[in-house]
Subunit: 261 residues, 4 copies
């Protein structure tokens, strides 16, 4: 596939130098390893590389993890490790229709839209206009606007949708949404919640239990990166030691006053 | 959606009693918590529940994690936590065409087929006929046969496909496939490898580096399950402490003799 | 050192067969790997080995970790990994005088007594007579009775000692002891608390802060065991995933209303 | 205990501002939180505090973990969590005589000397003079010189001692010392090794097995620090993710050709 004006690409120089760019003619990317003119990139294909003054710039496909690295995300706590697990557990698949709150930087929105495809839909709520504006630009940048509906609103008070496949919550007090999430989910639908503290885990878990969700689980995912060298492989010395916890549950239309665990 | 004869369902009684069943009229499921006649299930919908002698049987949608619990998997080491991450990193999306080896019990095959949808395809190789027979039955059971091509063959020697989006390897000596994987991947395509030992991590990582893959990463995912009780939340005491490592890389058509990390 | 009648020894057959025994003449140890007569052990030295019907019985010195394996401990949650860290942080050294509550099975008591030597002292409190009786027998068995004072009493209400080097708490509600611990510690003395849940961590940490302790830390130690084989080394698959948390603080005679962290 | 001229003390302002100082009259400590004249400290006791311009300086006892923070340690990889476990497993107690190599910055030396007391001895080897000079100054500073013997030498070639309680190795190729360590240990004595990479774990473990050590274990300790706030407790976000592995074994005078694990 030949890259054309306006295409999205990732310039990968090394793991610490990853740039998400729109190929605008006449523009260029400046880095401490050298400059890259986008005119030189247009006409190439993903996977190709261009020599720059102090190294090599690889032109890569805008994979989700590069988008994660490339987006401006002041509020981001959700990491790829967490999102991969959340999507796996949610049951999401091509064609799914899901509700998300809050929108935040839009990275979870983009990930959901990626996996549910052209026939699916993400309805994403946020109480803050300014946040959604930035998320909207991010979603547009990656070309997934057709799959996303942005709504300003407080999901603790009201969610308009019904018969939804999954609900994703990344917000400070998700336990206040348990009842509304239960109502809009279709039977056997999945709720997926991400929170950073243990107190939030407890409140969320117990509120899901009260609201007739079953199969409720709370887990934490730790990612260890390895530094590989011949006969000297070991985990990296310094890194991320905590992002948050994932709580999942599924809607039972009858519920159970006595869930055994 | 009303459940009909022949449908696949999950009977969920508690986290340790999860059964994947085909709703055959006249048959029943026997557990230590009581019996469930499938005739009683037919006509219900996912999310409903039926009283059994010592509890309640929830009729659930066959989500991937229930399939994982329900499949017969003597050789399985890949866990949902690993698969979620592998799929996220791979770039897989609706319509992707991927190659997998070895087929094993078919659980990774099923997960890939789930996410790449009706327009995608998994070509899965195994050197053992008997393994593939069982995997074939598992894939049929979950209704995804249209998306999967089973091939008997040794990917270390030959892979017939070309221009593939991603290659997934879960086999003892993946480093012997690095060259073939590179050849069949389209530019910027992703290789994703799962191995249980550190020596395999090292050999795989270094072989990918030699074969002009870039952005090579080796990680380990640890999942901690939490036991939630009011004012007494804590991680579970005993559990899985290791499954394996995930190595990923992306094809550069030029490669680099000096990849900085 | 030649082993004599009445000496304490460990019979180590393999990591799952570790026996703490008193060398009583005429007695023997029966295991599924064979029988060992103590008459054959008397006269040998630590480090020696004796053939038994299905293997080899190593006669080992009663190290703390063997005592841990060998003691009857129905209530035990403290593991060697936790105790090693607790003792390191406490500042304990030969000659220290420390207070402990509750006594439990006496394993922490024994560990403390081991490290503070003949010139040190552990005063250990428990509210239950029956627990202390068993702990007393355990301490006697390992020959450390001279270093331990057993007291029945509720440390939440009253601790008689003063000018103590360190206080160790392994009990359900240690935050109720913060004030008393502060009072009996000498200036700059250390408090060390072990609790299994996050709620207890929070309550303990905040109570220490209120009681003018400084340098308060809460940590969790995870121990991963490795299975070593040539070119196939990896962590063990199943194991302990949680024991508890360690909270430490030090007594400041002035305290601080605003401790920065 | 009243602090006098020449005493060692720790000035603790907050967890990131910990200073190990010798109380020299007329001198002072300058920090970004203010200045502290040692003349004001002399006459106070450990546990007291002095107001400085932007906070409070607590005068603390020189506990091992403060010494760890305070020492100049360019080469240090051993952390308190590792040392606590190593000492616990070693069987070290007041009066023990142990051999250590290499000396490094001397922090393990100091920790060993702390726990084995006035009647014990650490013989510490290093092949580099310059390293030992710095370690010697560190050991002197904390007043433990009487318990430590410094030797320049290569333990892979020769160790002069015999009948040693424990051998501690923190060096690049400890497997080359297995035979010498075995020889100088007394029967049932313990070897304790710290290494940062998995390849070193494997080589060390297998060499101990060959040299008739038994009960060989390889473990990794992970320390998670918690950030405690009312209703918002969680692990810290960024931190140390790897230090190294601890391998332990015990000398059997007969050894075993078939150690079961």
């Amino acid at each position: 596939m030949v890259l054309r004006e306006g295409d999205l690409a990732v310039v990968w120089i090394d793991p610490r130098r990853v740039y998400l760019v729109k190929l605008t003619p006449g523009k260029k990317l400046d880095t401490d390893k050298g400059s890259l003119s986008f005119d030189d990139v247009i006409g190439k294909e993903y996977g190709d590389a261009i020599e720059i003054s102090k190294g090599r710039a690889f032109i890569m496909y805008p994979y989700l993890d590069y988008i994660y690295d490339g987006l401006h995300r002041p509020s981001q706590v959700l990491y790829p490790k967490d999102i991969g697990y959340m999507i796996f557990k949610s049951g999401l698949r091509p064609g799914s229709v899901v509700v998300e709150a809050g929108t935040g930087s839009g990275f979870l929105t983009i990930s959901l839209a990626h996996f549910l495809g052209e026939s699916g839909k993400v309805i994403t709520y946020d109480i803050r206009d300014d946040m959604q504006e930035r998320a909207k630009r991010n979603v547009e940048l990656v070309g997934l606007s057709d799959r996303v509906v942005f709504k300003k609103g407080d999901v603790r008070e009201r969610i308009e949708e019904e018969n939804i496949d999954s609900v994703f919550l990344d917000m400070p007090d998700p336990w206040l949404v348990a009842e509304n999430a239960y109502r809009i989910l279709k039977p056997a639908g999945t709720i997926v919640v991400f929170v950073p503290t243990v107190d939030q885990v407890e409140k969320t878990f117990l509120s899901l239990k009260k609201c007739r969700f079953i199969d409720i689980e709370a887990v934490e995912l730790l990612l260890r990166e390895y530094q590989v060298k011949e006969n000297a492989t070991r985990p990296r010395s310094i890194g991320v030691t905590h992002t948050g916890y994932v709580i999942t549950g599924r809607k039972s239309i009858k519920g159970s006053s006595e869930i055994s665990e």
